[in-house]
């Protein structure tokens, strides 16, 4: 038996480095003699560049180069699509022609000897455009809707079922565009050595950044190296390799010097993705006792003209509840904007808001408690895929959450609960997200001093990957976590999938487990071949590892430690391991995480201020590797959900498509005073199917469900159903 590391509340192994400032983020990697680049962004929303007055700017102090489509190197832009790139369309080619596709598109890059000089020159660069009015309003009916591949799904006849249902809900929902707004800006430093390129660059997907930039510049993949040991928050914005990475590399190539490029906060609203604004319709049909007879979910997202970004907006509707007649439809409106991107809880967070708001509406119409309504529609299996769930604890989540939240004190009638003058509302909503798994690999090196080094090309944008992977390696090597050194953030390490989609723990964790098992096998082989070892010539099958020591089964001797084995030759044991989900298991089960989220709001009936007083979430996510980190993940997701429900909205000026509030004072996100008591609980759930670790992922589901729980609480408090997020004072003022 090993002393278990998995499940322990280990504090962050990188915590000290972060709070003492020794952790180095992308913009912290300065190189001697580097130049500074500043992007000049288009100030029109559509059209072309007609004139660039670069000559005078080139003569400004410190300026080394002004690079525009007129003098930029023509780049090969070989085909490349990573898992996170849109399947249809072609990425933006920067500085390759005079076309402006959206407001804020990079149209020039100014390179100078220091940042001040570069900023000043960039501001002085006069560019003339032939501009047209862009189409940026998704609700504009004249915009053509396109149907992406596999966008629609259906079972039974939902339209007939809804029309004939004794009780019906049919409503429209809207969610504003949001930007990720992590604390750390995007940053890339690019250094060429001949035809080899090193990028110190903020990335959630290093091996894809490596492959993408290799393709853009027509290089062999191995000629590009990407380094990113720390990420100061990302929420999905660093999944793709955006144009600024190409621009940094291009500027470095054209100047022959190392170039550092950091985006401004404003520029982070231009070309680094956003949660697309969505328009949705939900129609529900039900029997008077609350059994769903038909569900229709139609949704439209926004995308750019040059790529079709799709997300799983309607996916959860197909499996969340039991219903014989379900129809889902997904469309895209192509706008003159940049391409959206995955943002925490992508697709599900938006789709679930609509579905869970409608379920809440239905509960009032039926006079059935909202949780009871969900219980009456709890499916026994995934009715869309017609297969069993690998595990599903939604009802246990509702039970645990109800109890901790005190749902029983809720009086059903809207406007029936008060605290002094304030209107109090309690709301609940379901959360769900798929338990994904992608092929990954990892390396374990057992050193002569007894330490284990573990490496994978993964990222840690904040969930605590450094810590949780250390725990996984410690668990399977039988070592205390202090003897494990886990490293990530280099493209040269064994390949991992993108750090997003809540699959890092499942994918990289399983690969580390495999690498540990392989390292132990190699160490055992070495021991049995060693004439000086106590297990010399033993059959490997007769040996066992326990707490990092090798001995014959049933033998009471101390056995051999890794250090004992390795010290005899001095050569470290190095093993790689890979893992992926067994296709038969993947085919056989529907794999998702589930949760129940509860929110309490207090609304001032005079002036309409809405404050969240409490959020409780209960989740079934398989095994919890580290309860401290898991709780932290959940509270972070809940705060993101408060933002989605009550604050976040990127506002575009319809005249030129500019984001008007591209500023931290104007793009509202929760501050400490907006964050109430947040509680996260995990139901005991054993899922033997998802992966060898039994983990289902947590990062995304932590945001899903919070916004509808809050919106449902707002209705309970006021009797006003707000179907458009974010909910602001003006929406409840006259309620």
């Amino acid at each position: 038996m090993n002393v278990s590391s998995i499940g322990k509340p280990l504090t962050r192994v990188d915590g000290r480095a972060k709070v003492t400032g020794t952790a180095r983020y992308a913009a912290d990697f300065n190189q001697p003699g580097q130049l500074y680049a500043v992007i000049v962004s288009a100030t029109v929303g559509l059209g072309r560049v007609t004139e660039i007055a670069s000559t005078e700017v080139e003569r400004m102090p410190g300026v080394v180069a002004v690079i525009t489509h007129r003098n930029a190197q023509k780049l090969p832009y070989l085909p490349h699509k990573g898992v996170i790139d849109p399947a249809v369309g072609e990425r933006l080619h920067v500085l390759q022609d005079d076309q402006v596709h959206f407001y804020g598109q990079p149209v020039a890059i100014v390179v100078a000897d220091n940042l001040d000089h570069a900023e000043r020159a960039a501001a002085a660069l006069r560019i003339t455009y032939a501009a047209r009015r862009p189409l940026v309003d998704h609700a504009d009916r004249t915009i053509e809707r396109i149907a992406p591949k596999s966008a629609d799904g259906s079972r039974g006849d939902a339209d007939v079922a809804v029309t004939q249902a004794p009780v019906m809900i049919d409503e429209a929902y809207e969610i504003a565009r949001e930007n990720h707004n992590p604390m750390e800006p995007h940053a890339t430093t690019a250094a060429w050595s001949g035809d080899r390129l090193t990028l110190w660059s903020k990335s959630q997907y290093l091996v894809n950044e490596q492959a993408e930039i290799a393709a853009v510049f027509g290089l062999p993949v191995e000629n590009v190296e990407v380094i990113c040991p720390f990420i100061g928050g990302a929420f999905g914005t660093s999944l793709r390799t955006w144009p600024h990475v190409t621009l940094a590399a291009l500027a470095a190539r054209q100047t022959g010097r190392t170039v550092k490029l950091v985006l401004s906060r404003k520029q982070m609203f231009f070309t680094t993705g956003h949660r697309p604004r969505t328009l949705q319709r939900i129609a529900l049909g039900a029997t008077p006792d609350g059994k769903l007879t038909g569900v229709i979910h139609e949704g439209t997202g926004e995308t750019s003209r040059y790529e079709q970004f799709t997300e799983a907006l309607t996916a959860a509707t197909a499996y969340l509840y039991s219903c014989p007649n379900v129809r889902t439809q997904y469309r895209l409106a192509q706008l003159d904007t940049s391409t959206p991107n995955h943002m925490r809880g992508p697709g599900e967070a938006s789709g679930i808001f609509a579905l869970e708001s409608a379920m809440d509406e239905l509960s009032y119409k039926l006079g059935i408690d909202p949780i009871e309504l969900r219980r009456r529609n709890e499916p026994r299996r995934d009715e869309a895929e017609n297969k069993p769930f690998s595990s599903r604890s939604l009802m246990q989540c509702y039970e645990l959450g109800s109890e901790r939240f005190g749902w029983a004190r809720r009086t059903p009638e809207p406007r029936s609960m008060r605290d002094g003058r304030l209107l109090i509302g309690l709301g609940a909503a379901t959360a769900t997200y798929p338990a994904y798994h992608a092929p990954a690999s990892a390396r374990v090196r057992l050193l002569a001093d007894g330490l284990a080094e573990v490496e994978a090309a993964a990222s840690d944008m904040g969930p605590g990957t450094y810590t949780s992977m250390t725990q996984v390696a410690a668990e399977f090597l039988g070592l205390p976590p202090e003897q494990v050194r886990f490293r990530l953030g280099q493209s040269a390490y064994p390949q991992t999938p993108s750090h997003g989609g809540s699959w890092t723990m499942a994918s990289v964790g399983s690969a580390i487990r495999a690498a540990c098992v392989e390292a132990q096998a190699q160490a055992a082989s070495r021991a049995v071949a060693d004439s000086g070892s106590p297990v010399f010539e033993a059959s490997v099958d007769d040996l066992e590892w326990s707490e990092g020591r090798l001995r014959r089964r049933g033998d009471a001797s101390p056995g051999m430690s890794y250090r004992d084995i390795i010290a005899r030759t001095g050569t470290p044991v190095e093993a790689e391991g890979s893992a992926q989900r067994d296709p038969e298991v993947a085919e056989g089960y529907s794999m998702h995480s589930f949760g129940a989220v509860f929110a309490e709001v207090a609304i001032d009936p005079d002036v309409g201020t809405i404050r969240v007083r409490r959020i409780v979430g209960a989740y079934g996510i398989g095994r919890v590797v580290n309860p401290l980190l898991a709780r932290s993940q959940c509270t972070g997701g809940m705060i993101g959900g408060i933002g989605m429900a009550l604050m976040e909205r990127t506002v575009l000026d319809p005249r030129d498509g500019r984001p008007v509030n591209a500023h931290m004072a104007d793009y509202l996100m929760p501050v400490n005073l907006d964050v109430p008591k947040l509680e996260a609980y995990f139901v005991d759930e054993v899922d033997p199917h998802v992966n060898p670790l039994g983990v289902k992922g947590l990062g995304e589901i932590a945001l899903v469900g919070t916004a509808p729980a809050i919106a449902n609480a707002v209705f309970h408090a006021t009797g006003r159903r707000v179907r458009s997020l974010p909910i602001h004072i003006e929406d409840v003022l006259t309620a």
């Binding site: 100030t43 001032d604 009550l646 509030n661 509202l668 501050v671 003006e730």
Partner: protein
């Protein structure tokens, strides 16, 4: 940021002389540096006035005297301010963030620039930033903009919270300039935009605010500041209201009422005040008087809710001040 020189003056006279010849004063720098980073302001010469003797807070008779260089945080925490003019402390705490309040001076607070997003976008029309370039907000996104005191050239609100309290309390300010000293009501510091929105205040070239004087009275203790906004902190007001009441024998003897977030300058509500004097401090009276607050309101496309939110905020602030449920 563009290059500039930063000078420490040897005396107040030096500082004033420098400013009269085009230099800009800098105290906390929380507005100016921000705007310089965004290249909205590009002064080439800054005079650091922090060493000049205009800090501190003192009491003279019934008056509270606040040095122009006193920091927002310092004033908010001052026992005399809390005791004599709690409205000022409350309005300061509702403003900005702790970091900004630690740096920002009282004089600078009054002179802070507007938060209209187009003012900060060099590629958008803004008559305040670039006279004659038009106003992008009037036909653009304007949910945060003013409904009172606007013109066809500018619709930006004045962003200060404490200015609303000072205007309500009939505070005066003392300034020093090349021609000597003068004092005038804080309310007269702020200009309406008219057709010259780039002229925001009535200070003459080189004039420096040195102190703010707040007269005390029976209304001072029964005074509250209410700031309404979509997040609980670190956001400018959608609507705010400063209300101070003097009540004798169950009847309102005196009222001071000013609002923020709705006007192009801190907006005193004298008609509401007049309507309340002699009435009982009851919700119905507050509601009737508050209707007068929106006289002359000119809502824009996205800020019509302010016409409704304004009287509601006034009622609530009066209720808080009068301790009426």
């Amino acid at each position: 940021m563009f290059p500039f020189t930063l000078e420490k003056p040897r005396s107040t006279e030096d500082a004033i002389a420098a400013a009269a010849s085009g230099a800009r004063f800098i105290a906390g720098g929380t507005t100016l540096i921000d705007l310089m980073r965004e290249q909205v302001e590009c002064p080439d010469r800054l005079i650091d006035i922090n060493s000049l003797p205009f800090g501190g807070i003192r009491v003279e008779g019934e008056d509270l005297v606040i040095g122009a260089l006193a920091r927002m945080a310092e004033v908010a925490a001052d026992p005399n301010v809390q005791r004599l003019q709690p409205l000022i402390a409350e309005s300061l705490i509702e403003g900005a963030s702790p970091q900004l309040r630690n740096m920002a001076s009282m004089g600078g607070n009054l002179l802070q620039r507007v938060r209209c997003p187009y003012f900060r976008m060099l590629d958008a029309g803004c008559n305040k930033r670039t006279p004659g370039s038009g106003c992008a907000a009037i036909d653009g996104l304007n949910s945060g903009h003013a409904i009172l005191g606007t013109s066809d050239h500018c619709v930006a609100t004045h962003p200060s919270d404490v200015a609303v309290a000072l205007v309500a309390l009939d505070a005066t300010m003392r300034v020093k300039g090349p021609q000597g000293e003068r004092s005038f009501p804080v309310e007269e510091l702020f200009r309406l935009p008219g057709d010259t929105p780039h002229l925001e205040h009535t200070l003459l070239p080189g004039e420096l605010i040195v102190e703010i004087r707040v007269p005390g009275g029976p209304h001072s203790r029964r005074a509250r500041y209410l700031k309404v906004r979509d997040r609980a902190s670190y956001e400018f007001a959608l609507v705010s209201a400063a209300a101070a009441l003097s009540i004798e024998d169950g009847v309102i003897r005196e009222v001071r009422l000013a609002v923020g977030g709705v006007g192009t300058r801190p907006w005193r509500l004298r008609d509401c005040e007049a309507a309340l004097v002699g009435t009982r401090p009851e919700r119905r009276a507050f509601e009737e008087a508050a209707q007068l607050a929106r006289q002359g309101a000119r809502p824009l496309r996205h800020n019509q809710f302010k016409v409704e939110l304004l009287p509601r905020t006034v009622v609530r602030a009066l209720a808080l001040a009068g301790e009426v449920a």
